[in-house]
């Protein structure tokens, strides 16, 4: 019975649609859970700036406020370890997801970002048997997710030597930054066969190619509604084919249920893996329909889903 337990969400960033979808999912699912008396509170906290130091302070405050569990999307996999350790020492269950932490006392619900990067190349290898030049749009330098996805992509390229990364820019996971960076490098690039991205910047890349009046390559999308809509438009117009892959923002709700299960005394492995959410040519329409205008393709988890994930990890 966890009806007297309090769970907090520590979130480091709210400045993009993915995070907003994540917060919305959290609100929706935990709101119902609180109403149903599953837990007594599930508050969400967001820091003003995307900074590990600020989030560490936030976690310390949560310790003071006496939460029983902290669900954490971390600004840094390592820089919060000090605060997380303190929380564990205070007897608090810490479950990290998406942006996971390396501190051993915490649980981790991870997406295999490296695999995500590799899968992009795998897909391309199937599509383009002759290979070709790739343009890589990376995220924010120095952040672990960027490093992991990029690492996967480079691994994939090493396995498929027909591909060559002709250019690499940092789009900081922001549409306009990506567009700006791509537009700057594009004039000096040779023919580009495909653009590999980390999510959220596919549309910007497409715009930049259009502005430079260059043929649109295969651009891997990141599950944003505008990307999917653009893809659908192209698909209807000229049969454009690509794929879209990202982590579902609703994973916050999975983390919530996992935390609840741990508080309930359930034995849960420290490392859980969730699949990333992939959209292909055939299920594009179905996914596009489900995705709210301007939002991100999403999956929300129920208690049963969570239990399945926990059990399958054993």
């Amino acid at each position: 019975d966890t009806s007297d337990k309090k769970i907090a969400l520590s979130n480091n960033y709210a400045g993009n649609s993915w995070r907003q979808a994540m917060l919305t999912s959290w609100e929706k699912v935990t709101g119902e859970a609180v109403k149903a008396g599953v837990v007594s509170a599930a508050d969400a906290f967001t820091t003003a700036e995307n900074q590990a130091t600020e989030q560490a302070a936030q976690i310390q405050n949560m310790i003071l406020q006496g939460y029983d569990a902290i669900v954490l999307n971390a600004a840094s996999p390592t820089a919060l370890n000090g605060a997380v350790k303190e929380a564990c020492d205070a007897g608090i269950t810490v479950v990290s997801f998406d942006g996971i932490v390396t501190e051993p006392c915490a649980w981790r619900i991870a997406v295999d970002f490296k695999e995500m990067g590799r899968s992009e190349i795998e897909y391309l290898a199937k599509r383009l048997s002759d290979g070709g030049n790739l343009l890589e749009i990376r995220g924010l330098a120095g952040v672990f997710v960027d490093d992991a996805i990029s690492g996967g992509i480079h691994e994939g390229v090493a396995e498929n030597p027909q591909f060559k990364i002709a250019g690499s820019v940092h789009g900081d996971w922001a549409q306009d930054v990506a567009q700006r960076a791509v537009a700057g490098i594009l004039p000096s690039l040779p023919e580009i066969a495909a653009v590999v991205t980390q999510g959220g910047d596919g549309y910007g890349a497409a715009q930049a190619f259009a502005a430079a009046k260059r043929p649109t390559p295969i651009i891997i999308m990141g599950n944003r509604q505008d990307e999917l809509a653009w893809w659908k438009e192209q698909k209807d117009a000229n049969g454009y084919e690509t794929m879209s892959v990202s982590i579902a923002p609703g994973v916050s709700t999975l983390a919530f249920w996992v935390a609840q299960q741990i508080l309930d005394g359930k034995e849960v492995k420290k490392d859980l893996v969730v699949p990333f959410l992939r959209i292909d040519q055939d299920n594009l329409e179905a996914n596009l329909e489900k995705t709210p205008q301007g939002g991100v393709a999403n999956v929300e988890y129920t208690l049963e889903d969570a239990q399945k994930v926990i059990d399958s990890a054993k």
């Binding site: 979808a21 700006r180 000096s188």
Partner: protein, 316 residues
């Protein structure tokens, strides 16, 4: 010879020289083939920094400590609200623009109200304001991306005789800014305030009125930029302004405007904006890693400012 010497004395010339060098090095990579494409891209993206940069320049001219940190949040808010209001409807383009401008006016007044009423340094007042504005942007539609009306999207992404429309907009705004600064009473007034507020007050300048107008002007330009940028990139994002915080300050100071206030120039902003875009493009083109690229960007900025040199001293 004399003309050349005069030119060398202009503080903005150095940013243009640096721009030319970087541009040349970049197109060398493709043996010159990329010249047109690169120039067009540079003009397009520099246009946005120029628009916010002009506003920031007016504020910085007001003297030490004057800086508007609410620029990124302002851009986000105006983009979000305007696009939501227009809702893909071509007929709503002008009302959307109107609302963006009004938002700018409101935030500008808010900024100055904090500065004046709480007597706090602008840097803190506008930072606080930016948090509030950012929250407003989140609250409006929680980061949902709405497409701009087709007509507006077309306008912002296309060009006129090879010159991007946004660059033309930036040019028109620059000319107005230049006239304001160099030829108008208002320009003299802000320069005077930048040198000494007490002296300006005793010379009969309505100091508060002028400062308020300047903060409003800056917010309106940021708002306008947000409106254009959101339309250009196919929708507003909650983080779309963040790039422009450092950028707006950097283009002003690299462009040769005195950080101490009281002295400013518009052409420099163009040089600096093009330069900052091209530096990143150049380093990207030559495939340098993020670390090296950052280090190089920094070193180039410092080198430019070193060559351009400090200002001449007054009476020894």
């Amino acid at each position: 010879m004399n003309a050349l010497r005069l030119l060398v004395q202009k503080p903005w010339i150095w940013s243009f020289a640096a721009t030319a060098i970087v541009w040349f090095i970049t197109i060398m990579f493709t043996g010159g083939a990329s010249a047109a494409g690169l120039s067009q891209a540079a003009l397009t993206f520099a246009a946005f920094s120029i628009i916010v940069g002009i506003g920031q320049m007016f504020v910085i001219t007001l003297g030490p400590g004057n800086i508007d940190l609410s620029v990124p949040a302002m851009m986000t808010l105006s983009g979000t609200v305007a696009l939501k209001l227009m809702g893909v409807d071509n007929a709503m383009i002008l009302p959307g623009l109107g609302v963006a401008v009004l938002l700018g006016v409101a935030v500008g007044i808010g900024n100055y109200a904090f500065i004046k009423l709480l007597r706090i340094p602008p840097i803190i007042a506008t930072l606080s304001m930016s948090f509030i504005v950012q929250s407003m942007a989140i609250w409006t539609n929680r980061g949902i991306r709405i497409k701009p009306p087709a007509l507006l999207a077309d306008f912002t992404t296309s060009s006129f005789f090879g010159i991007p429309n946004v660059a033309i907009v930036a040019f028109v705004l620059s000319v107005i800014a230049w006239v304001l600064l160099q030829k108008s009473v208002y320009g003299r007034w802000i320069s005077a305030i930048g040198q000494s507020i007490p002296a300006a007050r005793m010379a009969g300048i309505p100091v508060d009125g002028v400062r308020l107008a300047t903060y409003v002007l800056c917010a309106v330009l940021a708002s306008l930029c947000g409106y254009l940028l959101a339309s250009f990139s196919g929708g507003a994002a909650l983080n779309m302004g963040s790039e422009y915080l450092l950028m707006s300050i950097a283009v002003v100071v690299i462009g040769g405007t005195a950080v101490a206030g009281g002295d400013s120039n518009v052409p420099g902003i163009w040089g600096a904006s093009l330069f900052l875009f091209l530096v990143v493009s150049m380093l990207n083109t030559y495939g340098l890693g993020a670390g090296i690229r950052l280090v190089m960007t920094g070193i180039i900025i410092i080198a430019v400012i070193m060559v351009a040199g400090g200002r001449k001293r007054g009476r020894a």
